[in-house]
């Protein structure tokens, strides 16, 4: 395979491929795709290492520690798979390189701060929504869950509502 970093899959075929991956998970495991759940479990594991007594007393955190390690879960294994799949795909496409992706007008520190802040928002939001773009919009959306479609509408609504203000970071 020739490595061309600017070459991507046809978006329609990529969509069908992603749908088939999701379908495989649903049929074989009875589970879809998820990302924020694994992040939460990693976070609780870290918090447990720092302040075990606090985690054991926190009603919003201890739920995932009751059955052994929070990391012993299918979501965490799927996340490991995403990491591996991402490395292999990036290496074979020539896109594996250490860098900061940013627009021409923003400093590296500014871009990192925005990335971190956005991550924080998504982490908090995903706890309330019981999932993120993978768990709610993709999986729940495909299974016609009403909550997932509400999530999807609000996700795009929230995004477009502030897109005007962040466009300077990219142009």
């Amino acid at each position: 395979m020739t490595r061309d970093p600017s070459k991507f899959w046809n978006p329609y075929l990529a969509g069908v491929a992603l749908g088939l991956v999701l379908l495989t998970g649903l049929v074989v495991l009875g589970k879809g795709l998820g990302a924020s759940g694994a992040s939460f479990r990693v976070g609780v594991t870290l918090a447990e290492a720092v302040a075990p007594a606090h985690v054991a007393a926190a009603p919003g955190l201890r739920g995932v520690t009751e059955q052994g390690s929070p990391l012993d879960d299918w979501l965490v294994f799927q996340m490991l798979g995403v990491l591996l799949g991402g490395v292999v795909a990036a290496y074979t496409s020539g896109r594996l390189s250490v860098e900061v992706l940013k627009g021409p007008r923003i400093s590296t520190a500014g871009r990192i701060a925005m990335a971190l802040a956005g991550g924080l928002l998504m982490g908090v939001g995903a706890k309330f929504a019981r999932g993120c773009a993978s768990g709610q919009a993709l999986t729940g959306g495909a299974l016609m869950s009403v909550g997932a479609w509400v999530f999807m509408m609000m996700f795009f609504g929230g995004g477009y509502s502030i897109a005007y203000f962040v466009r300077r970071a990219w142009r």
Binding site: L18, L84, L120, K127, G141, G147, W149, V150, M154, G158
Partner: protein, 396 residues
């Protein structure tokens, strides 16, 4: 029930299930990277209107998986509602509205979502790694917030259970799936128009795969419209109802009564005398007054006859949701819940002891007769069934 027993991959063959999870994750990550979702510019372009890859890939994936599950359900390979109950979360309306908004704000700020940030990190993008760290810390902060009683009340409020679009719209799932496929094609056409207007920087998609995907989705959409025109109910051939054991029914009635509706089909007098907790007395002549064809199918319907039920009444057949018949009818319930269970022999297996405790607790709660303690010294009283969902406000 699904002939592919995915439950066993989550329970008995857990190691195999985790390996499959890893493989599914690998494919997920690989496809996301190849679609360009490891690059912030490609993702945020959706919101700057310059590039509509996010919509094309996401909508395409949702439509593909949706049509796929509906077709597999149609040929009997999976049970759509069982898969959906297992793989999607229930609906909490307001928390999901607010959560979706906050995740959307975070997406545009970071230009990644929690899944794609992992792919970006995997391809060496440091901004992706920063987003991953943000999501990890943010979800712990979210978890901490849920410890505040007022916040927890909000997060657990407006609970609607497992609610699906086909319950809400009262059409067969296939019709929803095919309508979504049609809307997807319309959205793709619209997206390409906007891309051309916004400068045409995005390379046009090669025509052949594009046409194939469009034609397939549009064809499926047309098939859905035809199905909608067909009279409903012709496909539902009478068949033996799915069964539920008295033990499983007791578990559901006690653990999550808001997920189940129990109808007692015996005579009103027999039902008035004794029935499953929470059951409605619905003698056959009163069934038509329940308008089962027109109510939401979100809850599973369990019918209780005097004995085993060979065939469901037509009114029950019209119920849009899942219907189960109590195995052995009320006689089985009587034997399970209204008869004092034999205490397990000393040294019985812990599972047997636990099952006995639940049964003895149920028996004494329903009859007022206290069960004698088991012969073996056992600490504690009757094991209480654990409540899985707090709040919700619609417990029966």
């Amino acid at each position: 029930m699904s002939p592919l027993p995915f439950w066993s991959l989550m329970a008995e063959h857990r190691e195999a299930g985790l390996v499959v999870s890893l493989l599914v994750g690998f494919a997920f990550g690989f496809v996301l990277e190849r679609a360009g979702f490891g690059r912030a510019q490609k993702l945020v372009g959706q919101f700057l209107l310059t590039e509509w890859t996010v919509l094309k890939v996401m909508f395409g994936a949702v439509a593909t998986a949706m049509v796929g599950t509906v077709v597999l359900d149609g040929v009997g390979l999976i049970d759509l509602r069982a898969v959906a109950d297992s793989a999607s979360s229930a609906t909490w309306l307001w928390p999901m509205l607010v959560g979706g908004l906050v995740v959307g704000l975070g997406f545009v700020t970071s230009s990644y979502c929690p899944g794609t940030s992992v792919v970006a990190m995997a391809s060496g993008k440091l901004d992706g790694a920063a987003t991953v760290a943000g999501v990890v810390v943010g979800s712990v902060i979210g978890g901490e917030l849920l410890g505040v009683p007022a916040v927890a009340r909000f997060a657990d409020g407006s609970f609607l259970g497992h609610l699906y679009l086909y319950d809400l719209l009262r059409v067969p799932p296939a019709v929803v799936a095919l309508a979504v496929a049609l809307v997807a094609v319309a959205a793709f056409v619209g997206a390409e128009k906007v891309e051309r207007i916004m400068g045409g920087k995005a390379p046009p998609s090669p025509a052949r795969p594009r046409r194939a995907v469009f034609a397939t989705l549009a064809g499926l959409g047309a098939a859905g419209v035809v199905m909608l025109a067909l009279p409903h109910g012709t496909t539902a051939a009478p068949r033996a109802p799915a069964r539920i054991t008295a033990e499983a029914l007791a578990g559901r009635v006690l653990d999550a009564p808001w997920n189940v509706r129990v109808l007692d089909l015996r005579s009103a007098a027999a039902c008035a005398e004794a029935r499953v907790p929470g059951a409605e007395c619905a003698p056959p002549e009163a069934l038509k007054d329940l308008y089962l064809a027109d109510v939401s199918g979100a809850r599973d319907l369990v019918v209780v006859a005097a004995g085993d039920l060979a065939e469901l009444p037509a009114e029950i057949h019209a119920y849009p949701g899942h219907v189960l018949a109590l195995e052995g009818g009320f006689e089985a319930w009587k034997a399970y819940a209204l008869t004092a269970p034999e205490p397990p022999a000393p040294g019985a297996a812990p599972q047997a002891l636990a099952a006995w405790r639940v049964r003895a607790g149920l028996h004494s709660a329903l009859t007022g007769v206290k069960a004698p303690p088991p012969a073996a010294p056992a600490a504690g009283g009757v094991a209480k069934p654990r409540k899985k969902v707090s709040g919700g406000g619609c417990s029966g």
